[in-house]
Symmetry: C2
Subunit: 376 residues, 2 copies
C-alpha cells in the first residue's frame, strides 16, 4: 500500500468495495520497465485498466498503447494518444471496428488467420500488420489457451500473402500468457519466433518488429522474479538470435504497470464456521468473482489480503463473494489463513489489485453496483 493510498483511505473512508489506485506508482512501474528493457517500445495493454487517469499519465510518459477493442482505441485518443502510438492488438475484430480505427488514423493491427487478414486488407489498406504466433504458456498463472495465435507454417504463408494484399507485413508477435512467472517462457518463444523472422526476411519480406507481448508479473501472494531478470533474459535471447541487427521490439505490459499500483478495499459481510467439526471458517466479502475479482476463477490469481488484525492468531479460511451464486467463491483450496479476530463489518484490503478488476466486474449481478474507483 502506497502512502498516498493509505492517506486516502484514512481521510475518506470510502464506501466499499472500491479500487484505490496510486497513479504515481503507475509511472514508477512504467519507468522501471523502460529501464529494464530500454530498447523495447512499451504498448500499455489498456484492458488491464482503461481509466482515463492511467491513460493520461502514460500519454505524458510517451507510452504506446495496445487496444483490445475499438472503444479502447477511442479512449486512448481521448486521453491524448496519437493514432500512430496505438496498436489494435486483438486478432478478432469486427469489420466496423477495423473501419473506425482506420479512419481514426490507427495503422497497426494484429491478426492470426487468413480471414482476419482479408478483413484488414479490405478495410485498412496499407496498414502495418503483425501475425501472432502460438507459443507455450507454461509458467503463466493466467494462460491464454488455444484461442489465439497460429502455427509457424501458417504465419509464414500469411506474412508472404500480406504484401500481395496491399498490407505492410510489419512484424511477428507472441504472448507467453498473463502473470508469467518464468523468464524461460520468453526465451523459448523468442527462439521460435526469431527463426521465422529471419526466414521471412531472407524470403524478401521487409519485417521490422518483434512484439514480445505482455505477461510480466505483479507480486501477489507468491514472490515473482524482478523485472530486470525478464529484461536480461529477453535481451540475451534477442541478441543471441539477431546479433547487432535487432529489429524493433515491442512489449505489451498491462498487469505489470497497474497491478501493484492499486488495492481493493472490501468489507467482511459474514464470518461463519459452517461445520463445528471443521476448523475452516467461511469469510464472505462484499466483493467476489462477479464484482471485479474475476481472475480468482480457478483460484488463479491469489491476492494478498491485509486486515487490521494482522499479527494476531490466524486460522484456515475459505473466502467467498456476496452473491447468491455458488460459483462466487474466491479461495477454497489455496490454504488461506486469516485472523481469528476477523468479524463482520471489518475492512480488509486485497493488495496489488490494480489490474483486471474494474472492467471485468458485472453491471449489477444480484443488484450489486459496479466497483467504485478512486485514483489518487
Amino acid at each position: 500500500m502506497t502512502p498516498k493510498i493509505a492517506r486516502f483511505l484514512t481521510q475518506h473512508q470510502p464506501a466499499t468495495p472500491c479500487l484505490v489506485l496510486d497513479v504515481d506508482r503507475v509511472e514508477e512501474n512504467f519507468r522501471a520497465l523502460r529501464d529494464a528493457l530500454p530498447l523495447a517500445r512499451i504498448y500499455y495493454a489498456v484492458k488491464a485498466n482503461p481509466a482515463r487517469q492511467v491513460l493520461r499519465r502514460l500519454v505524458g510518459l510517451s507510452s504506446h498503447f495496445d487496444a483490445a477493442g475499438i472503444e479502447e482505441v477511442e479512449a486512448c485518443l481521448d486521453a491524448g494518444a496519437l493514432p500512430s502510438a496505438i496498436s489494435f492488438g486483438n486478432t478478432i475484430k469486427k469489420v466496423s471496428a477495423i473501419q473506425r480505427a482506420h479512419r481514426a488514423g490507427v495503422t497497426m493491427f494484429a491478426f492470426d488467420s487468413r480471414e482476419e487478414l482479408e478483413k484488414l486488407a479490405r478495410n485498412a489498406p496499407g496498414a502495418r500488420v503483425y501475425c501472432r504466433i502460438l507459443v507455450e504458456n507454461a509458467g503463466a498463472d493466467w494462460p491464454l489457451s488455444r484461442k489465439f495465435g497460429t502455427t509457424i507454417e501458417s504465419a509464414r504463408e500469411l506474412m508472404l500473402l500480406a504484401g500481395d494484399m496491399g498490407l505492410d507485413p510489419f512484424g511477428l508477435s507472441f504472448h507467453v500468457g498473463s502473470q508469467q512467472t518464468t523468464t524461460q517462457a520468453y526465451e523459448l518463444a523468442i527462439g521460435k519466433v526469431a527463426m521465422l523472422f529471419t526466414d521471412l526476411t531472407n524470403a524478401g519480406v521487409n519485417l521490422r518488429m518483434m512484439n514480445l507481448g505482455g505477461g510480466f508479473p505483479t507480486r501477489y501472494r507468491d514472490e515473482v522474479p524482478e523485472i530486470d531478470r525478464f529484461g536480461d533474459a529477453i535481451m540475451n535471447a534477442m541478441t543471441a538470435h539477431f546479433g547487432n541487427n535487432l529489429p524493433d521490439m515491442a512489449i505489451e505490459p498491462g498487469r505489470y504497470i497497474v497491478g501493484d499500483a492499486g488495492l481493493v478495499q472490501a468489507e467482511v459481510v459474514l464470518v461463519s464456521q459452517r461445520d463445528k467439526n471443521d476448523p475452516v471458517r467461511w469469510v464472505y466479502l462484499d466483493i467476489g468473482r462477479f464484482g471485479g475479482l474475476a481472475e480468482t476463477e480457478g483460484e488463479s490469481i491469489r491476492y494478498r489480503i491485509k486486515t487490521s488484525h494482522d499479527g494476531s492468531a490466524t486460522g484456515p479460511v475459505a473466502i467467498a463473494g456476496p452473491t447468491c451464486d455458488g460459483a462466487d467463491i474466491l479461495y477454497e483450496k489455496s490454504n488461506y489463513r486469516l485472523p481469528l479476530a476477523l468479524t463482520s463489518g471489518d475492512r480488509v484490503e486485497l493488495l496489488a489489485a490494480g489490474a483486471y478488476v474494474t472492467t471485468y466486474c458485472s453491471t449489477g449481478f444480484n443488484g450489486f453496483a459496479p466497483l467504485a474507483e478512486h485514483y489518487v
Copy 2:
C-alpha cells in the same frame, strides 16, 4: 423464438450483441409453474433478470419476489411489489442492507449461520426468518457448492435460538442447484428437510413454511423434464411427509420463468480454421463469457444456437468470445457443430438466453459495452 421476438428482429435489426425478451412468455411460464404447483407461492428469483418490464409483469400476476441484494429489494418495490411479497433470500447480507430492507417493510429473511441470525435479530427485530439447509446438488448443471446452507443439527439449534432472540422462526429452505434436471433431487431434499420440520414442530417451534428453492430447468441444448413432472414429484414428496397438514410452500424460480422467454442475438466476428490438419473451425462471436454468457463457464450451460444456414452441411467448431482473454471460450469440448457456410458478419441466435445474462455481463472489459436489452 417467439413470433414477437422474430418480428422485432426483422423490423429493427438491432445492433448486436443484444438480448430480446418476450414478456408474454414470462407470463406463460409463470402460469405454467403455478398450474404445476398450485399450492406453492412463487417467489421470482430477481437475479435471473431484474428488468423492470419483467418485474412489472410479475407484479401484475401477484408474484412474490426473492431478492439477493438490497438493490433488488428496491427494484421490486419500485416495480410495485408490496414489501410483504418480498423475501430477502441471500444468507449473506450487510448490516446496512438488512436495515434498509427492514425499514422498507420487508419482513422475511434467509440465514444459515449464527452470525447472520444475530445480525437479523439486532437489525430486523421480529422478522420472519428461515434457515437454509445444505442438500445434495447432484443433477444440477450449475450447482451451488458448499457456499450456502448449514447442517440439520446446526439448523435445529439455530431455529430454536431464533425465537429467544426475538425473531419469528418461520421456516426452512433448501436449494437443489440451478438448472436441476432431475426430480429426484427435490424428493431427496424434501425428505431430509421435512424430518427436521416435524422435529422442530414437535419441539414447540411454530414453523409454517417449507421453501423449496429454485432450480427448475429451462430447455437448452438437451431435453429436460416437463415442469409438471417436477410439480408431481414435489407434491408427492410433500404429502408423503406431511399428509393433509401441509405447511406453506414457497418456490424461487428464476431461470424457469425468464430463460426461454429471451434470446441473445450475436454477430460472427471471425471463422477460422486454426490448423489445417484439424477440422475444427473456431467461431468467434461478438459476445462471450464476459459479455453476458458467464454461465458457459466450464461449458455448464449449453445454449442452442440458431443460424440462417441451418439445414445445410455442418462441421465441428469451438466457439469463443471477442475479448483478448484466453478464458473467454464458450465451447471447446461440448461437440458443437455449426454450418460450414457460416462466415464473418452472419447473425446467430443463442436460444433460451433470458436468464443470467444481462447483469452478469462486465461493465466494459476490453472496452465492449454491456449487453443491450430489448423487451417486447
